[in-house]
């Protein structure tokens, strides 16, 4: 579903991603972990071209999204993204946040978009908040709305960029629960996270990044018990 070939990304003279090649299969839940500054977020943001790769290719369903004539807008509709700081639209109600893109981008009717939105809000447990503005929500609620907003576009892939890092500890769980239930629906997911317990429980595979390199790719059971690389061992010792 996603194929990454010799991806490199530089900011000015600083190369933050060195030659990453990998693949994410349909239905995979991939947890991307590693120390701060290892390039996890940059890697994730390359997948929907929020960062434009300096070199290399990324294929989504066989289509080279790094090709100059690729239709980025259309590709992004297939890829939902959830941010650390939610980025809900503050001047729209929760419901409008969910219906905006489906109506304006996919040209859904208002009724259809609102029906879908209410379904999704019910799914994340926030149907009663449809008419309030984001500023009235807690962090955990905001993030659940943000997830629902992405899902409203019916994406095939969901990217999560540290979705619980900005949350108070007691709100982490409600967001992880929503993600967990999303994973059971067969959604292809790539999650940058520091929640090791979650990664171990929910992910099918772990990508361990360090210093801009994809150092290790393994199943969670193996990665968390017997990491192959020394860097991963050191990292896990500090984390667990």
């Amino acid at each position: 579903m996603i194929k990454v070939e010799e991806l490199r990304k530089s900011f000015g003279k600083l190369e933050v991603l060195h030659n990453i090649s990998t693949e994410i299969r349909k239905g995979d839940v991939v947890a991307i972990i590693g120390p701060s500054g290892s390039g996890k977020s940059t890697f994730l943001r390359c997948l929907n071209l929020l960062e434009v790769p300096t070199e290399g290719h990324i294929y989504i369903d066989g289509e080279d999204i790094t090709a100059p004539k690729a239709n980025i807008m259309q590709i992004r509709q297939k890829i939902g993204m959830v941010f650390q700081h939610f980025h809900l639209f503050p001047h729209m109600t929760v419901l409008q946040n969910l219906t905006y893109a489906p109506m304006k981008v996919k040209k859904l009717s208002k009724e259809a978009a609102e029906q879908k939105a209410m379904e999704l809000l019910t799914r994340v447990g926030l149907a009663d908040k449809a008419d309030v503005y984001p500023s009235k929500l807690s962090g955990g609620q905001k993030q659940r709305v943000a997830i629902a907003r992405s899902l409203a576009m019916e994406p095939e892939i969901m990217l999560f960029d540290e979705p619980t890092s900005a949350l108070d500890p007691e709100m982490v769980k409600e967001v992880l629960e929503v993600m967990k239930s999303l994973a059971t629906t067969g959604m292809t997911m790539a999650i940058v996270t520091h929640e090791m317990g979650f990664a171990r429980e929910v992910a099918d595979r772990i990508f361990f990044l360090d210093g801009g390199r994809l150092v290790e790719e393994a199943e969670p059971a193996q990665f968390f018990t017997k990491p192959a690389s020394e860097r991963a061992q050191q990292f896990l010792e500090k984390m667990l």
Binding site: M81, H87, A101, V105, P134
Partner: protein
């Protein structure tokens, strides 16, 4: 005839008041057009079109770097000479103030757009929202909310500076006060009345701005 003699001016008060309509119409037109033109300039300035961007920056520096009264005189008198089109006083006045306030407003709007959290843009992009829609629906509404006080100040400044159009003969408050002065040979009373009118209008505008701002804050 005493030091102040309002009795003599009273018959002329309706005439001065007629100027209010012109001043308000003029301010409204200049604010609306200036805002539209300023938005366009601001969007050009944050775009990637190098040449257009350079032109917009140059344009702004010209209109901010020369006196307004010169721009007004220039447009009113030079337009017929250059194009043969006999521009009316009100047209010249609205055009000048639009071009001038557009230059100032564009800087305010540009700063307002850049102050909107970068994450808003990324969220819109990740949903596949095209650039134009994103600007109109997501970025500009938030930018406008932030810069609303500055925009109101700009329209208040326009209202007051509009008195300059009397120099090319537009029948605004100032010009009508001038005429009353010329007819009655009284200076104090007509200008006092004109000043009072400007002051009241500015106060009303300030009050409206406060109401508007409060309504916009609902979502905070």
């Amino acid at each position: 005839m005493g030091l102040f003699d309002f009795a003599q001016i009273v018959p002329y008060i309706p005439f001065i008041l007629e100027g209010v309509k012109v001043t308000l119409l003029f301010t409204l037109l200049s604010t609306v057009f200036g805002f539209i033109w300023g938005s366009i300039l601001a969007l050009i300035k944050i775009s990637d079109f190098k040449t257009l961007k350079g032109l917009a920056v140059f344009y702004t520096s010209i209109f901010r770097g020369t006196p307004l009264i010169l721009q007004l005189t220039f447009i009113y008198f030079a337009t017929p000479q250059l194009t043969g089109y006999n521009i009316t006083q009100l047209q010249a006045a609205v055009l000048t103030f639009t071009l001038n306030s557009g230059a100032y407003i564009s800087e305010t709007i540009r700063a307002g757009i850049l102050a909107v959290d970068k994450g808003q843009r990324e969220a819109a992009m990740s949903l596949g929202v095209p650039y134009k829609r994103m600007m109109l629906d997501i970025i500009l509404p938030q930018a406008l909310k932030n810069i609303l006080p500055a925009l109101v100040n700009e329209s208040i400044a326009l209202l007051k500076e509009s008195a300059l159009v009397s120099t090319i003969g537009v029948a605004d408050i100032m010009q009508n006060a001038n005429i009353v002065k010329g007819t009655t040979y009284r200076y104090f009373e007509p200008y006092l009345i004109a000043g009072g009118l400007y002051y009241i209008m500015v106060m009303i505008l300030t009050w409206l701005a406060r109401v508007l701002e409060r309504r916009l804050r609902r979502s905070d």
